[in-house]
Amino acid sequence: MAYQFDFSSLSGYGDLLAKGAGLTVSLTVVGGLAGVAIGIAGAWARSRPVPVLAPVVAAYVEVIRNTPFLVQLFFLFFGLPALGIKLGEFQAAALAMVVNLGAYSTEIIRAGVQSIPRGQIEAAMSLAMTPLQIFRHVVLIPALKKIWPALSSQVVIVMLGSSVCSQIAAEELTFAANFIQSRNFRAFEVYFVVTALYLALSILLRWLLSRLGQALFERRRHG
């Protein structure tokens, strides 16, 4: 007996899907911004290297990169209450994504930072630029420009990883898919539509990040 497709079984669940997609997007925005910020700070601490901070950052990076995201999420949501810290679903999901992206982007940005030739920095010092100016204009911005594709890929990976947050009942897109499927039992139709939604979100995110990269780093020469 051939499977009878019935996409109309999804009608009426439109706002549940929209709400789920909205939460996925907001988790990604929070995770992306805070994660990259941590990445820049971590890369700076490790590449200098800053005396006490560098090994701490190294330990953090190694722990997060070598453990599964789901386990990190469960630790924050189910484990922390034992220490008296109770996080809500959004807080735990966002924190897990920030911590995760922070570790990976530390390494990605550090690779970019360490690829800046020493000569550039020496030239900047000889022009009496302050260390902060050197870091900002000579090291960070060129580094970010170099690793921008890798960094935006990582942000997209973390966005897709937000689907794991359905495990702690955060009502994002995958949660909406599982919920609808448990009510209308139409697994194929539900997951097909949600896959298409994730694909659309990923393509949109990649495009936005690429435009952002162009806006930030491709400066047109004036005069």
């Binding site: 469960f74 949501f77 189910f78 484990g79 209450p81 034992a82 109770k86 679903e89 359905s166 495990q167 702690i168 009942a169 949660f175 599982n178 919920f179 499927q181 448990s182």
Partner: protein
């Protein structure tokens, strides 16, 4: 000619009466057979704690086993436990391999066509559980509370129907998520089956899931062969007596961590 017919008739009568003998023997009902043999054969589960499982000493233990012993004592005979699975428990009964089925058996119209059921002896229900101190006597009082439930389960479907709009229902992907959420305090209450709640209570957790109210009840019944009215009545009498003198409550406390619910 007459003598031939006579002798043929006589042999026919003898043959028929010989045939009747085994029929007469079967007409003795199950209750009489059990009392005569001094043994009650009961089908019990061995892979479904807390109703039936195998202990570390390789002996069967559980709610259903205790029930079998209780009924056998009421009949004044010994127990012979026969381990069965969900698939073969009813065939074992209908083919006479066992006298009773005490194996977390639920009642439904299809089964009622094939076998008879006693009075219920064990609760098997879905309900809302929570720690002491929280008084929730009905679904309306879930307003403003956080309840955890396993997505797609019977409890989820039933709870969604009765929960008020201001109740915060958190749906986890599996039983373990729901249990973790309750034990870590992420949810105040949990909607689950009494067997799951009993399993949690057995681990003596800091937060005890105590029944607040019932969502759906599908108790266990003893399965008896169709037409064995004498046996059914005796079993029912034993169950009623056990409820009255508290021995059924004791079994429930031992295996489910809680006495029989008030509405049982």
């Amino acid at each position: 000619m007459k003598t031939m017919l006579n002798s043929a008739l006589k042999s026919a009568v003898v043959a028929l009466s010989l045939l009747c003998l085994p029929v007469v023997a079967h007409a003795q009902d199950a209750l009489e057979a059990i009392t005569k043999a001094g043994v009650l054969k009961v089908a019990v589960p061995q892979d479904f704690p807390p109703f039936g499982s195998v202990g570390p000493d390789m002996k069967p233990r559980g709610y259903d086993i205790d029930m079998a012993e209780l009924i056998a004592k009421g009949l004044g005979v010994k127990t012979e436990l026969v381990p069965v699975t969900s698939a073969n428990r009813i065939p074992y009964l209908t083919t006479g391999k066992v006298d009773l089925v005490i194996s977390s058996l639920g009642k439904n119209p299809d089964r009622e066509k094939v076998i008879d059921f006693s009075l219920p002896y064990a609760p098997f229900y879905n309900g809302v559980f929570g720690p002491e101190g929280l008084t929730i006597s009905g679904p309306e009082q879930l307003a403003g509370k956080v309840v955890g439930v396993t997505r797609g389960s019977i409890e989820d479907l039933e709870l969604t129907k009765v929960a008020p709009a201001t109740a915060d229902v958190k749906r986890y992907e599996d039983n373990n998520g729901t249990i973790s959420a309750f034990l870590s305090g992420q949810v105040e209450l949990v909607a689950t089956g009494n067997v799951v709640a009993a399993a949690i209570l057995e681990k003596n957790p800091p937060k005890k899931p105590l029944l607040k109210f019932l969502i759906k009840n599908s108790p266990n019944y003893v399965g008896i062969n169709k037409g064995e009215t004498a046996l059914t009545e005796k079993v029912n009498a034993i169950i009623t007596a056990a409820r009255a003198d508290g021995s059924l409550d004791a079994i429930s406390k031992t295996w489910l961590g809680a006495p029989l619910p008030a509405s049982f």
